[in-house]
């Protein structure tokens, strides 16, 4: 009972209830589509927040890992008839290896230099996907076969919804476990003071590489799911704007808050749809909302609202 009352367990419960009840309020497949995309983005953001929010290391290239996971699924299933699950796992392993190799030099960089390093990384991945037209279809993109698990295929948006919802809950659960463990505390210590963390025995470089790989794997798996769900891929998935979009979700939702990442993903995926009524001024309103959020809620939505709520209580 005590564990149920903990904020993180309570949060997981609330997320589960929202996911369970939400379909009752979704009138048609257009809304299902948005909610499924929210789920996919949220999985990426929960992983990315471990890197940016908790460990304090920026990445402007995570869309690259998302796209690599997506293309791994697309290519292995489409061209080599692999089972989608096997392709997804293989993609995640390949991305993990690549992220590890890249992180060793890149995570030695700090601040602006780290931003530039990861930015370059994302751009190189994006160029590769554009250039290797033989296997990726180049700028024209490539179609992707549907998702199947041992011959069973998620036939409609309901099944996709439950699948993504379930995976999001698993992703949040894993992230919460990590955050509330000595590993998570070490990551936050790296954010707070690298020299003090290392004096306490935290291998700073190792933890930075570790969290980079973990966040890349989250992105890769979400990418694989996206590939099968959308049934079509273009290199823009790896693009700079997609990376920025992901970072914005994390920052607006709340740094160092697992649920903040989910809220950020929900907000930034939904907002452009809601703002469609503003027609030509859509981007203007969108930018305005982001600016206002950052001016008045610098720590992001969820942490700010949390501390307001705590102060309200006697």
């Amino acid at each position: 009972m005590n564990r149920l009352l903990k904020p993180e367990t309570g949060g997981l419960l609330i997320l589960g209830i929202i996911i369970a009840v939400l379909p009752l309020f979704l009138p048609n497949s257009f809304y299902f589509d948005i909610v499924i995309l929210i789920g996919i983005n949220a999985i990426v953001c929960v992983g990315l927040n471990l890197l940016i929010g908790y460990t304090g290391q920026i990445s402007l290239g995570h869309a690259g890992f998302f796209a690599l996971g997506a293309y791994a699924s697309g290519i292995l299933v489409g061209n080599y008839d692999w089972a989608p699950i096997a392709a997804m796992v293989t993609g995640a392993v390949l991305v993990a290896v690549l992220a590890y190799v890249l992180a060793r030099p890149i995570m030695k960089l700090r601040g602006h230099y780290l931003a530039m390093g990861t930015l370059g990384m994302g751009i190189v991945i994006s160029i590769m996907l554009n250039q290797e037209g033989e296997i990726t279809g180049g700028p024209d993109g490539m179609p992707v076969a549907g998702f199947t698990v041992f011959g069973w295929e998620p036939a409609n948006e309901w099944v996709w919804y439950w699948m993504i919802g379930g995976l999001l809950i698993i992703a949040v659960w894993l992230a919460l476990n990590l955050v509330h463990s000595p590993v998570g505390r070490a990551l936050r210590a790296v954010h707070g003071s690298e020299v003090a963390a290392s004096v306490a025995g935290v291998d700073v470089q190792r933890y930075k590489v570790l969290v980079f790989v973990v966040s890349a794997v989250f992105a890769s798996i979400a990418g694989s799911l996206f590939a099968h769900y959308s049934a079509f891929l273009t290199p823009s998935e790896a693009g700079f704007f997609h990376s920025i979009e992901l970072v914005t979700m994390v920052v607006v939702g709340g740094m160092a808050s697992v649920f903040g990442a989910v809220v950020g993903a929900a907000l930034l995926t939904t907002l452009p749809q809601l703002l469609a009524v503003f027609d030509d001024y859509e981007m203007l309103v969108f930018g305005g909302i982001l600016m206002i959020t950052m001016i008045f809620m610098r720590r992001g939505l969820v942490p700010t609202l949390q501390s307001m709520w705590q102060r309200r209580k006697p």
Binding site: W173, S181, V183, A189, V199
Partner: protein, 256 residues
């Protein structure tokens, strides 16, 4: 028994020799102070002992093991811990979490069990928190256990750094100017705390400018000037050493 010794230790930043040809040794379970004017190389020495800087010459031994080229994060495992002159608090955490980070090497921090929330990890977390709370009570931070670090006053943060350093259960504790910025009452309290830490068998090495504090607590004092050893001895010996008086006060006009 010799706890820590340095042989011909040197550190040059380009052409500047911050520490040069330094030799000394520190015995177990005593309070040692390292004093000297600003720029004498005291903090550089601390940074070399804890692996933050790599020495450009000489070697450092800890209990007969060569630790000269170890990385900083390995030092805690050997039983070496320190505090910082300019505070290095984790301001993104609560006070007790700061101390829990200090207990990192005493806690199970394997990645996979942490990711899947194993019960052994949760158990380890409870024990780690209990130890951290105990240490905070011991050093007099009972009221701040659940406080956010960024909401704590400066004096309490100095104590917090010491609590965090103690959480790794060190054999030797390096304190870099623990009394800097403290008022006389707080300085008096830190004096007591240092004595209490030493009484538990931890060897304390102190860099400090507050001479009253240094002379009061130290069993042994090492004086540095421009990166070299100027003098070594007990408080009384140092107080009467002509070289030390000259380094601190300059030539007396009348005696020249």
């Amino acid at each position: 028994m010799t706890m820590l010794s340095v042989e011909n230790l040197g550190k040059a930043f380009g052409g500047v020799h911050a520490v040069r040809n330094l030799n000394f040794s520190i015995g177990k379970g005593t309070i040692h102070s390292i004093i000297g004017p600003n720029g004498a190389g005291k903090t550089t020495l601390f940074n070399m002992i804890t692996g933050v800087y790599k020495p450009t010459a000489g070697r450092i031994n800890f209990k007969d093991q060569d630790i000269t080229n170890l990385a900083t994060h390995q030092m805690a495992g050997y039983g070496i811990s320190r505090t910082f002159q300019n505070l290095q608090i984790f301001f993104n955490m609560s006070a007790v979490e700061n101390v829990m980070v200090g207990g990192h090497i005493k806690t199970d921090s394997r990645f996979m069990p942490a990711l899947f929330g194993f019960l052994s990890i949760r158990q380890g977390e409870r024990e780690c928190r209990a130890r951290a709370e105990q240490i905070m009570c011991d050093v007099g931070l009972k009221d701040y256990i659940n406080a956010d670090a960024d909401a704590m006053p400066y004096g309490a943060l100095k104590w917090l750094e010491i609590a965090r350093a103690l959480a790794s259960e060190p054999e030797i504790l390096l304190l870099d100017e623990p009394a800097a910025g403290l008022n006389p009452t707080e300085t008096h309290e830190i004096n007591d705390l240092i004595k209490r830490i030493a009484a538990t068998g931890i060897t304390v090495v102190l860099v400090e400018h507050d001479m009253k504090l240094v002379m009061g607590v130290s069993d042994h004092i090492l004086v540095l000037d421009s990166g070299r050893k100027l003098a070594e001895g007990t408080a009384d010996e140092i107080r009467q050493d002509p070289d030390v008086i000259e380094a601190y006060l300059g030539h007396g006009r009348g005696t020249a």
